[in-house]
Symmetry: D2
Subunit: 269 residues, 4 copies
Amino acid sequence: MVKVADDPDTHIGGRTLAIIAGPCSVESMDMLRETARGVRAGGARLLRGGAFKPRTSPYAFQGLGASALKMLASVRQETGLPVVTEVMDPRQVETIAEHADMLQIGARNMQNFSLLSEVGKVQRPVLLKRGLSATITELLMAAEYVMAQGNRDVVLCERGIRTYETATRNTLDIAAIPVLRKETHLPVIVDPSHAGGRADLVAPLTFAAIAAGADGIIVEVHPNPAEALSDGDQSLSIEAFGQMMRALQPFAEAAGRTLPESALVTAAA
Amino acid sequence: MVKVADDPDTHIGGRTLAIIAGPCSVESMDMLRETARGVRAGGARLLRGGAFKPRTSPYAFQGLGASALKMLASVRQETGLPVVTEVMDPRQVETIAEHADMLQIGARNMQNFSLLSEVGKVQRPVLLKRGLSATITELLMAAEYVMAQGNRDVVLCERGIRTYETATRNTLDIAAIPVLRKETHLPVIVDPSHAGGRADLVAPLTFAAIAAGADGIIVEVHPNPAEALSDGDQSLSIEAFGQMMRALQPFAEAAGRTLPESALVTAAA
Amino acid sequence: MVKVADDPDTHIGGRTLAIIAGPCSVESMDMLRETARGVRAGGARLLRGGAFKPRTSPYAFQGLGASALKMLASVRQETGLPVVTEVMDPRQVETIAEHADMLQIGARNMQNFSLLSEVGKVQRPVLLKRGLSATITELLMAAEYVMAQGNRDVVLCERGIRTYETATRNTLDIAAIPVLRKETHLPVIVDPSHAGGRADLVAPLTFAAIAAGADGIIVEVHPNPAEALSDGDQSLSIEAFGQMMRALQPFAEAAGRTLPESALVTAAA
Amino acid sequence: MVKVADDPDTHIGGRTLAIIAGPCSVESMDMLRETARGVRAGGARLLRGGAFKPRTSPYAFQGLGASALKMLASVRQETGLPVVTEVMDPRQVETIAEHADMLQIGARNMQNFSLLSEVGKVQRPVLLKRGLSATITELLMAAEYVMAQGNRDVVLCERGIRTYETATRNTLDIAAIPVLRKETHLPVIVDPSHAGGRADLVAPLTFAAIAAGADGIIVEVHPNPAEALSDGDQSLSIEAFGQMMRALQPFAEAAGRTLPESALVTAAA
């Protein structure tokens, strides 16, 4: 079990599902605050938000950087939601670790061994995303790079692999969940937003992931997906996120899991 | 909705999940009878069994052929379970249609257009498996080959696609289920046995498939998987099948579905 | 060595490269005749032409069928070029074998085992194309299905495999050529037209294939690619084919091969 | 054209093919010196050698690090061969740029955007390898990350992509060469060692690459491949490298290219 904060609802790998939600990129203080409150009301207990964004093109929006880190820290203060954000450069690790509660290693950096070693040296849980065409074995070996430096708090994330199919952005390798559960003690969560690349697929992929044994999800939510600066096609609105969480409840139960406490309250209301 | 027989539990695409189970290949009358009784007790309402087997090597076991067809028809008589079996050659269609209730087109023949046209001309529902590297669009176009000949009773089957990952036999494209549900009225089932290629993955993949919206499953069951002439690694024992069906019940409910009636009785017992 | 006709330039697998060219589909007697004369002048010694076309959609042009077979036989008479054409249905094998000199099994039918067995029973060389996502081992096993019936005259064809890359129609697996040369005595040719799916890639892929050790090529040529009923994007004009053949000459020599005799005459002119 | 050193034989992208050869990892001064002399005699004009090695497992040999850099610089002095070596961490860029003539970005770091930006800031040509499942467009965008910082001297390297085929380590995407030549002015070379992962495939893949239009190769050579600490299966012996270079000569000519001058001398001898 990986404990992101004291609140048991932020512990990943136990009976309670980890629900991480938030915008792809932090675009402004207002949108971040609105999203954080919305996803908390919907049942999320951890806030995701990109400050430094890895983009295929150097000419695309690259994130707000350091100022986004401050916004994340500030909204954490307001909402009580611990923050998960991506680190892309070994030289950023220390600074980001000061502002964030969990460090995300993105798919493109899964075999960035310098970065893996660096996050292995700090006292922050690591969310390690599977590379675009990484095997399960390679994902486990990447986790070893972190743990070999002393940091054992690694959470694995299946986020879809690259295949020939073009109907979806990636192909969610749902079988990776039970395979990983047999091969490692590390918690495994799923990113249904990147896996499908389509907002309409987020809910069914989430239900499938939990049914297959995942310990949680990390999902992109935006107050107004149509105007998102990045990944708008795959972001849920705050309302759609709430609906999905309510529909998730019976699947969580069927899987012998429970949702974070306040999500249960919300669902009952 | 595709009606394989009069029994509503054999209608595919409605509220009741279609549960198709049985051996990869029919190996003998005894094993077929034992399996059929076992899977019926576990909740299956349709019997699968290979008479003509497509094998990568011409020197591997090719199935018992015509005599297996007779065994299937005879066990159908005894158990009341309609029979699903694969047809590989346009010249076999008529004969197999006499003995079987549903004709399966295997993954390797998904774009065997002569065969598709031929099964389009008979009055038997068709179970069309997705090709090893077929796109969703190609699967839908293959179904059109059948329907263009007048036979509208086509059920699509996601059975895993070929990727670089070697931990599993294929990669179950779980997102294909919700994608297909948006693009076609045809029912969609999943084959968790071929997708994972491992008996220990059949249950989690089944739960995930139903959670993602599948209309049923087709699963390989063998009285003694260790001695199966084909696909032993991925076959469930009769007991494991029964356990899985009991565990499936809450996932079916969460998905707004129900199991075939007798499965419910069994589960309650 | 597989001998398609008496002319040594039609023997595949020896020092002389096999050059098979012609239209994707036979569209009319005029276009077929024009193409045949054009490719013969350019150095081809075998004529390809589709009579029965496997198309993803049942509503796309399916080929002229039996009448195209007659046109092919007639143009063979006029030009002396032996004919290679695809067979898609075991029931067609006998008829097509009467009109054609070499039977092609298309990529989608590589594991159509009934069809493979049927062409194994006739006295015609078989051109077996690799399936869209077939492994090299599966290709060799498919050839065994033909040879197990007594027909040893099988030529293998690498035509690109399906990958995530979308810049080309398929990904030419150039390494399959030397791998196959180590694992089988069967001749290996390459289809640069389907591999790349782009006319501008046909020449470089051809040069690469011969440099890697291929025994020949099968290439699509059309008198007016812009108006082709199928595969226009990847068809060479007659003129472009001639240019490519002239440029191929030094690569053939570098590989210890020679072009068919008249191609040499043309190149010298 | 990218000029690695003053010697015209080290300019990449002109009429003369770039031949980069050397060991996967620098294992000792003796083996490096022996290899460097051997590949120079065979016709190489640039020396590759890994100091910092990216390995899937943190427990595998990681390279000799800083001491290897010194060996490379020393052997450059002795042999006159400019040195190409991999940089894995933005904090290493400056140091490595002091010792090496060309900085290699490995496949796993193709989308390590911090690293790309950092090498974009130094005055050293960059060898950018295509990621394991990167599209051609993504490779070009990665090059933009370097060039956007002011460093225009980027050479692209096709080194095989990840597919389902297991007969080879990767699948050399030979069509990427002509596609890239149409889409960018940047030189394109090929790594036949990683593409095939087998020493016996290096020569045919090299011939194919040059025939398809590549501007050169980067190839692994080891004095005793059977005892290599890494990548022994795919390394050529010094003798095999020399043989391959002699056999390459007519293919280079057919492609309108020439080998480095001394290679010609050797070949004539």
